[in-house]
């Protein structure tokens, strides 16, 4: 009679627990890659190459803490990843999570041009490695009147700007989101001018709070939250924090940003969080922090008073 003993199975053949627990994810991931590959008509070797596989959920190593972080309660991950204003996918905030699932974030390049010494096209992974990743726990206030607290991962945009070496003529920075109707179904309808464009004045862009972001909650940025590269400007309304960036251009005059083009009387270039300047159609005095029942008062510059000096002498009612 042949009864195998347990030690007949060499330990090297036992599936590691973590892999076992992730087998479903692995299977669906493989299936999705297969479907995507067939659809795109690419060879098998490309499926196997790790760089073409979406990396959401992957941990980011060596994240440093930042003195800019708030100690407020962090909004649950599932809320921040399932409630997204990302019109490139849908105007319904609950839809981008599903629609962005197969969004390709690799390979991805970012064009850096305009008033710079050296125009260049950089791989996103090159950009991410420019400086040490920091965790910045920021308040994030949407122009619609809700807010969240998110542990973003990235580094100050100034790190990139210094390396890009802009010319003295560069007074503003203009950012552009990817334009790709096949991958971003929301761009098929003309709710906004595509591609999405945002801008900052040079001193705003150089401010240490201004974050070039590629992760959150210690992991790679999920697609619906703006992967692979987005901006986070915590003292401005959320729509200034542009997602899916493919171009950073240094310009000598103020860029026209998408929401301003859409409704000039409602959304300005600056769009600093300001409880004293209402949106023409609703109040900005209070906000609903997701997960809280009562509304809370909105703070000037979303509580980031250190940026006030950037706007000294400016009429913020006019420059809303």
């Amino acid at each position: 009679m042949l009864i195998k003993k347990a030690d007949d199975i060499p330990s090297s053949e036992i599936t590691p627990k973590s892999l076992y627990l992730n087998r479903r994810k692995f299977l669906t991931g493989t299936a999705a890659a297969g479907v995507a590959a067939v659809a795109a008509g690419v060879g098998l070797h490309e499926i196997a190459s790790p760089s073409s596989v979406a990396q959401a959920d992957a941990k980011i190593d060596g994240i440093q803490k930042s003195p800019f972080s708030t100690t407020e309660v962090i909004t649950p991950y599932k809320d921040v990843t399932n409630y997204n204003n990302y019109y490139e996918f849908s105007t319904d905030k609950y839809e981008p999570a599903g629609l962005a699932k197969n969004f390709k974030t690799r390979p991805w390049t970012v064009t850096i041009d305009g008033q710079v010494k050296k125009k260049q096209v950089l791989d996103v992974d090159t950009i991410i490695k420019m400086a040490a990743p920091e965790e910045r726990i920021y308040r994030h206030r949407c122009v619609e009147g809700w807010s969240i607290v998110v542990p973003w991962v990235g580094f100050s945009l100034s790190e990139l700007i210094k390396r890009a070496d802009p010319l003295p003529k560069a007074k503003f920075v203009e950012f552009t989101t990817l334009f790709d109707m096949r991958q971003m179904p929301g761009q098929r309808s003309h709710v906004l001018e595509w591609p999405y464009v945002e801008g900052l004045r040079m001193d705003e862009a150089m401010h240490p709070l201004t974050l070039l972001c590629f992760g959150m909650y210690g992991e790679v940025l999920p697609n619906q939250d703006g992967a692979p590269l987005r901006m986070v400007i915590p003292w401005k309304y959320g729509f200034k924090s542009i997602k899916g960036i493919v171009r950073i251009r240094f310009v000598d005059s103020q860029p026209d940003n998408t929401w301003h083009i859409s409704a000039p009387s409602e959304y300005g270039f600056y769009s600093n969080v300001n409880p004293h300047v209402d949106h023409p159609r609703w109040s900005q005095a209070t906000e609903r922090r997701l997960g809280e029942f009562r509304k809370r008062p909105t703070l000037m510059f979303n509580g980031y008073d250190q940026v006030a000096s950037l706007y000294s002498g400016m009429d913020l009612k006019k420059n809303f």
Partner: protein
């Protein structure tokens, strides 16, 4: 048939509320439950208003006269969801701060128009009983209840003015509403034309008789 079927329709009309309640109980209202409740109740007001307004055209076009027996119920459900929508606003958005509410109503045109639409539904709900129809008399009652046209238009404008950029859903409501109101305008023109003709025929006969 209607008597047997009506309770089921009544229960079905409570479906949207039951669904919200169930989702809330299961914690499935998403990241911003209050927003979901506000938007969902708002949608159902418009849907019930449009359903109510479609009874007359459907009845006339199909000859299915029994449809009229559902109209009051649908209209009252529109009011029911309007009350829920209003409570959500005054409680979960304004926390019963009437001063703040009044500031909102007078200052923000999308709230002004939405509030107007709601207020106009109140007399209609109050006078929806058979007793009130008798007390007012058919003609006056009918004239009063034409306020639903204004209320529905106000509701669609309220929605249109509150969205940020994507007006596709308010557009759909506006389209259906304009078809339903357009039908009434056409029906009125046809009726007036017929009456005029009838009047002129009568006048001709009178002339002939005199001559």
């Amino acid at each position: 048939m209607v008597r047997w079927f009506k309770p089921f329709v009544f229960l079905a009309c409570l479906g949207p509320l039951a669904r919200l309640g169930w989702k809330a109980y299961m914690g499935r209202l998403g990241a911003n439950p209050i927003e979901v409740i506000t938007h969902s109740t708002g949608d159902w007001i418009l849907i019930f208003l449009l359903v109510t307004l479609s009874i007359t055209p459907l009845r006339k076009l199909t000859g299915q006269l029994w449809l009229i027996r559902y109209r009051r119920m649908f209209g009252l459900f529109a009011f029911f969801y309007a009350v829920l929508h209003f409570i959500t606003y005054i409680w979960l958005d304004k926390f019963f701060d009437l001063h703040e509410m009044w500031a909102d109503v007078s200052k923000r045109r999308f709230i002004t128009v939405g509030f107007t639409g709601f207020v106009l539904l109140i007399p209609l709900a109050l006078t929806s009983t058979t007793g009130w129809i008798r007390r007012l008399g058919g003609k006056r009652w009918q004239a009063l209840h034409r306020l639903i046209y204004v209320s529905a238009i106000a509701g669609v404008i309220h929605y249109w003015w509150l969205v940020k950029a994507d007006v596709s859903k308010p557009q759909q409501y506006a389209f259906v509403l304009s078809v339903l109101l357009g039908y009434r305008v056409v029906a009125w023109l046809v009726r007036r034309n017929r009456e005029r003709k009838a009047a002129s025929v009568l006048a001709d006969r009178a002339e002939v008789a005199e001559g």
